[in-house]
């Protein structure tokens, strides 16, 4: 049957070629579309994770209620409120940072953690000033948790530890201030106190907003500027698997009042966007595969009608219904397998090319996952087999005597 299926395919070259092109484009299209989209999503995810780790632990802001005020005034007495308390209470600093670090050190899924202190300040040089985020980091632990250190284009993270009041400034901010390496700029805290700091490094993350508004310093420097010695605002955690960060965060939040948030919970819009992208991708692929399947169905259906006499003679010389079903299924299978392989090559070639296309700042990101290729291949093969099944079943159900009577 295999040999006859091949002969049938080769005997109608144009139809077979069109089917082959359809299958190859279906498979290749799936691979290109999926690889580029997943590459983009991975890039976006990495950008989000590289600045803030997988999980952040911060103090929780809370609504003030009657219950939350219990025991604050008149301890042991019953208090009747004429007008209940309202408003929100924020704990700017993490109260139990030391306990957290001790706890995190014993948790298997935690790879590393680092402390940060962060606040809005105004930085100025001459007549130029701008409101920025002053971020205190631990130069030793920060590179183990985030990729910020990789974006430092002049100097390095360890230089922050080589003295007091040393900072690394985003390239855009430094340009705005008209400063350069080793210049001194001033930082004004919320109390209006002015602190001179020296620029010992420059970083460029590719994200202009970030590069315009972020200053890195050591935790000690920032605590000094904010006049909050020993305080920190958050702990950033790296886990063994970024995709399971929300599960880990839930586990960490057990038994604590602090706010434990995973990167995906903190960027819910990103998740919503990726889900929408995946939905659009699936709809597009489904439509494409449907068109290819209809093409295969039509060609094989026509073939079954054209080959009725031959089906009759096959049955009369001892070939069974199943043999005729297999004959037509095989044609769909052969074309889909060959088309799928061509599609894989098209997908691989196109993805290799796309990866060389320069986008602003960096080359285009493409996902290289063998499962994308396998799934693309399987998708077209299964669709083609499904599309071949109905014509094949029709061929199997034809009665030889009916065909012969019609022919006569």
């Amino acid at each position: 049957m295999f040999e006859l299926a091949i002969k049938y395919i080769l005997s109608r070259k144009v139809q077979s070629l069109l089917m082959l092109i359809g299958v190859a484009l279906g498979c290749g299209g799936y691979i290109i579309f999926t690889s580029v989209q997943l590459g983009f999503q991975t890039f976006m995810k990495e950008r989000l994770i590289e600045n803030n780790g997988h999980i952040t632990i911060e103090s929780r802001e809370e609504d003030i209620t009657r219950e939350s005020m219990e025991g604050v005034f008149f301890k042991g007495s019953t208090v009747y409120w004429i007008s209940g308390p309202s408003g929100r209470r924020s704990n700017e600093y993490l109260q139990s940072a030391w306990h957290w670090q001790k706890r995190l050190a014993d948790i298997p899924f935690v790879v590393a953690s680092t402390k940060r202190i962060e606040a809005q300040v105004t930085c100025a040089r001459g007549a130029f000033y701008r409101s920025v985020t002053l971020r205190g980091v631990d130069p030793f632990y920060e590179p183990k948790v985030t990729n910020i250190a990789e974006d430092i284009v002049v100097g390095n993270m360890n230089m922050l530890n080589s003295g007091n009041n040393l900072v690394i400034v985003g390239v855009e901010l430094l340009n705005f201030l008209g400063g350069k390496l080793n210049d001194t700029i001033t930082v004004v805290n919320s109390n209006g106190n002015v602190y001179p700091v020296k620029v010992v490094g420059i970083y460029s993350s590719g994200d202009r907003r970030n590069d315009r508004t972020l200053i890195l310093a050591s935790n000690t420097t920032v605590q000094n500027i904010l006049e909050s010695p020993g305080r920190i605002t958050k702990i950033v955690v790296k886990t063994v698997d970024a995709d399971r960060a929300s599960t880990f965060a839930r586990e960490l939040s057990q038994g604590t009042y602090d706010k434990v948030e995973s990167w995906d919970e903190a960027n819910i819009n990103f998740l919503s966007m990726t889900q929408q992208q995946s939905f659009i991708r699936n709809i597009t692929i489904f439509t494409f595969i449907l068109v290819v399947s209809f093409g295969i169905y039509n060609v094989l259906n026509m073939l079954v009608h054209q080959k009725q006499r031959e089906i009759a003679i096959l049955r009369s010389i001892g070939y069974t219904r199943n043999d005729t079903v297999v004959l037509f299924l095989l044609q769909g299978a052969i074309l889909s397998v060959v088309g799928g392989i061509i599609g894989i090559l098209i997908g691989y070639g196109a993805c290799s090319y796309i990866e060389t296309i320069k986008m602003p700042g960096r080359p285009m990101r493409v996902a290289w996952d063998v499962f994308i290729y396998l799934w693309g291949f399987m998708l077209v093969v299964i669709s083609a087999l499904f599309a071949s099944f109905l014509p094949a079943k029709t061929a199997g159900s034809l009665s030889p005597i009916e065909i012969i009577r019609r022919t006569e």
Binding site: L4, K7, Y8, L10, S11, R309, E310, A312, I313, L314, R315, S316, I317, G318, Y319, T320, R321, D323, P400, I401, I404, T407, E408
Partner: protein, 230 residues
């Protein structure tokens, strides 16, 4: 030895009864011509006897098998190994060469390599060796029909069913095909059941069963051609 034994075979198409309780016996090695006008039921009888078509009542025993009661796989096995069919239209597979077409029945049971020599012999015997690698579209009508006969013979069947095999051929090719049937019948002892409109070809057979209105009008042996064997 009996090749086919039919008892009270009835076949109807709706209200029209095509075969009205036909009973007959065909011995092994007989050359039987089934004749009759259009609508007499000869094709229906032919297909009913061969098992290609179902029957409404009665029995057909072919080479000892109740052909209409067997499981489908068994019927296909018998068709493959014990029967050969030749139709008015050659029904060759247009994508296969002559040799490949002839070997198709053997290929079903993966005996095509063993049957290769016999296929070449048949090509030679039917004088179509020059067509060995040709496609059906590259051959004449007579050559195609001879290929169809060779395909029917490749498995050395016990019975050959031929449904107006000369219907689309000119007189020269018709005579050549009939001569082949005669020789196969004579040399191999193959039972040949032939439907024909042509009286001349019917007389070439050893026995003629003539149908009229779904019944056997007469069943005669042509002693000048062959002796009654039962």
């Amino acid at each position: 030895m009996v090749a086919i034994e039919a008892g009270n075979v009835v076949k109807a198409f709706g209200d029209f009864i095509a075969l009205k309780s036909i009973s007959l016996t065909i011995a092994k090695g007989e050359f039987v011509a089934i004749t009759g006008k259009s609508g007499s039921g000869k094709s229906t009888l032919f297909y009913s006897l061969s098992g290609l078509d179902s029957i409404d009542s009665g029995t057909v025993m072919m080479l000892g098998y109740a052909i209409h009661s067997l499981p489908e796989d068994e019927v296909h096995r018998i068709r493959n190994t014990k029967m050969g069919f030749v139709f008015q239209f050659h029904y060759l597979i247009s994508e296969l060469t002559t040799l490949e077409n002839i070997l198709m029945p053997a290929k079903k049971i993966k005996m095509h390599k063993e049957k290769m020599q016999y296929a070449l012999y048949l090509l030679d015997y039917f004088d179509i060796q020059h067509c060995k690698d040709k496609l059906p579209s590259q051959m004449s009508g007579g050559e195609r029909q001879r290929v169809a006969v060779a395909r029917a013979l490749i498995m050395n069947p016990d019975i050959i069913f031929a449904d107006e095999p000369t219907g689309n051929l000119d007189s020269i090719n018709s005579e050549a095909v009939m001569r082949i049937f005669k020789e196969v019948n004579k040399q191999n002892g193959t039972t040949v059941i032939l439907i024909t409109h042509d009286d001349e070809y019917a007389h070439m057979a050893g026995r003629q069963i003539h149908l009229k209105d779904g019944q056997i009008e007469y069943d005669v042996y042509n002693k000048a051609v062959s002796k009654k064997s039962y």
